[in-house]
């Protein structure tokens, strides 16, 4: 009996090495550069600048005269404030991102994988958390707690924002868990935790990565919104509090662009950079998601 080996033909071409890191596309390079510069500024900046709260009797002055970004109405150094605000916003973003990842993967993935009553209970809890409106809850908390630390604000933002991701993760886990390769792992006698961590979780990485990145953006924006309303952490600098003080100081009406533009731009640039990184992560982990631009498609067309 002849045994056809249709594999032999293709096997002649060398198998490409396994790629773990994303190819350096323009998207990724731009995203990494912007995010890297902002993160570096947030880490190193506060060490190099003076006290951001020092009041001087020079009033509102434009850039120059010894102050890179000018001063506020009360003569505070805007550049020093921006350095501390960047650190504050990044801390909020990282803490909320990590908490959201933990909460949403626990309630979304574990519940769906275990199934039965655990799934029902977790899913009910997720749905309850989903309909709790974030902003009113934060306003409520801020009216009870007079001195809010940056950590409290981060915790509140995380608690009110994980439920949406958890639902998405649950849906995806339910679909992955009934695929044949998971059944095959069960048949070969894999332990349940190993099936979850090794067979299911890696397939959720693109989803998790994009959710973390968007949770960070959401947290920074959310905190900026709260601070702008005067509900943010007391006594700390973030991009949002800078905008709040600029608004209170009538910066826009006085044409003091150096006061409100830097924090606003920082928020916009950091959000854009994280989104660019996010798109690149998607493309490596799931080759099927790799975007086919028009140039890419044209390469495939047959040139006879």
């Amino acid at each position: 009996m002849a045994i056809t080996t249709e594999g032999a033909v293709q096997a002649a071409t060398a198998a490409p090495a396994r790629r773990r890191l994303p190819p350096m596309t323009l998207k990724l390079a731009v995203g990494l550069t912007i995010a890297g510069v902002i993160i570096l500024f947030g880490v190193v900046g506060p060490l190099l600048v003076g006290n951001p709260s020092t009041v001087r009797d020079i009033g509102l002055t434009g850039p120059g005269n010894g102050f890179v970004l000018g001063t506020t109405q009360t003569g505070q150094d805007v550049f020093a404030q921006l350095a501390h605000a960047t650190r504050g916003s990044l801390i909020i973003g990282v803490v909320v991102g990590a908490l959201t990842l933990l909460l949403s993967s626990f309630f979304g993935i574990v519940g769906a994988f275990v199934g039965g009553w655990a799934d029902e209970a977790f899913s009910l809890f997720t749905n309850i958390m989903l309909v709790i409106p974030g902003l009113p809850l934060v306003i409520l908390i801020s009216s009870y707690v007079p001195n809010k630390s940056i950590w409290l604000v981060a915790a509140v933002l995380a608690i009110t924002s994980w439920a949406g991701s958890a639902r998405v993760l649950r849906g995806f886990t339910l679909s992955v868990r009934s695929r044949d390769y998971v059944l095959a792992a069960r048949i070969s006698g894999e332990k349940r935790w190993r099936i979850l961590l090794v067979e299911i979780l890696p397939n959720l990485i693109p989803l998790l990565a994009s959710q973390v990145v968007f949770a960070v953006i959401f947290a920074i924006l959310g905190e900026a919104g709260l601070s702008f309303l005067g509900l943010g952490a007391s006594g700390s600098f973030t991009w949002g509090t800078m905008l709040f003080y600029a608004q209170n100081g009538l910066a826009l009406r006085l044409g003091a662009w150096w006061w409100f533009a830097p924090p606003g731009l920082a928020i916009a640039l950091f959000g854009a950079a994280l989104s660019l990184i996010n798109f690149s992560i998607d493309e490596i982990i799931n080759p099927k998601l790799r975007s086919q631009t028009r140039a890419e498609r044209n390469k495939w067309s047959v040139k006879a």
């Binding site: 056809t4 594999g7 096997a11 059944l183 048949i187 070969s188 890696p202």
Partner: protein, 266 residues
């Protein structure tokens, strides 16, 4: 462990429709015996209970009544008995595009069952075994480092067969192993299964809806209709001399050029 026996196995599913629930009998008092070196084909249309029997054998479902016996002893679902059972009975899935994890390399798919069934193996021994498994299914060694999306359907199914062979099973359940493949490579995969069966003296349960391959490939054919076995016997007898009307219908549905030519007449 060598003989797997299903004795009067019944599987009911409860269908919930609002507050009412109805019962669907997917498998109805099915009995058969799988021995090493023998191939039994399980033939039937969609929904006749073929895949439920596969799930029962793979411990993914439990029978409502009846028993599954391994060398005369009832099947164990937990502990060392279950591990021994998984080593002895393995399965090839229908869909080669769904049965391999897109995230992992081919080597991972083959190395895991090897490690599970030989915890004492060193890394080199496991790697050697993976290459040996690839050879057994006639794939080249460099497939080990590839990922499933780089393989064709036939190549994937060969990997799935290699994975099933990794624990050195005595019995292989093949659930429509070629129905998702191109017609042109079906014969290759079936011949591979037949060759492996002879080499390893496997007992094969070949689940299919294709009478022609069932006859070509197996010693005995069982025809399943609505969960019950309506006809069974040596392959040639069942095909050439069908007794039950459903089997006759199946046999008539297969293309038969001679009959057609005779009908057209001179």
């Amino acid at each position: 462990m060598s003989v797997l026996e299903m004795r009067e196995v019944v599987k009911d599913y409860r269908l919930r429709n609002g507050l009412r629930s109805t019962r669907l009998r997917a498998v109805d008092h099915v009995s058969f015996e799988l021995k090493p070196g023998r191939t039994i084909a399980l033939v039937g249309q969609s929904g006749s209970g073929k895949s439920t029997i596969a799930k029962l054998l793979m411990q993914l479902e439990r029978p409502t009544a009846g028993s599954i016996l391994v060398d005369g002893e009832p099947m164990r679902y937990h502990g060392a008995g279950a591990a021994a059972y998984r080593k002895a009975v393995q399965m090839v899935f229908q869909d080669p595009f769904g049965s391999l994890n897109p995230y992992h390399t081919i080597a991972h798919h083959l190395a895991r069952p090897v490690k599970l069934h030989h915890p004492d193996f060193t890394r080199e021994q496991v790697a050697d075994r993976v290459l040996e498994l690839l050879h057994r299914v006639r794939l080249d060694e460099d497939f080990a480092s590839r990922k499933p999306h780089e393989l064709s359907g036939g190549q994937r199914q060969r990997v799935a067969i290699a994975r099933a062979l990794a624990p050195e099973p005595a019995i292989l359940v093949a659930d429509e192993p070629v129905s998702m493949l191109d017609v042109s490579i079906r014969l290759g995969v079936l011949n591979l299964l037949a060759a492996l069966q002879r080499e390893e003296n496997l007992g094969v349960l070949y689940i299919t809806h294709d009478l022609a391959t069932a006859r070509h490939f197996s010693d005995e054919i069982m025809v399943l209709y609505r969960g019950a076995v309506v006809e069974r016997g040596p392959a040639d007898d069942v095909i050439l001399n069908p007794q039950h009307e459903y089997t006759q219908l199946l046999a008539e549905a297969a293309p038969a050029p001679e009959r057609r030519l005779a009908e057209l007449g001179p």
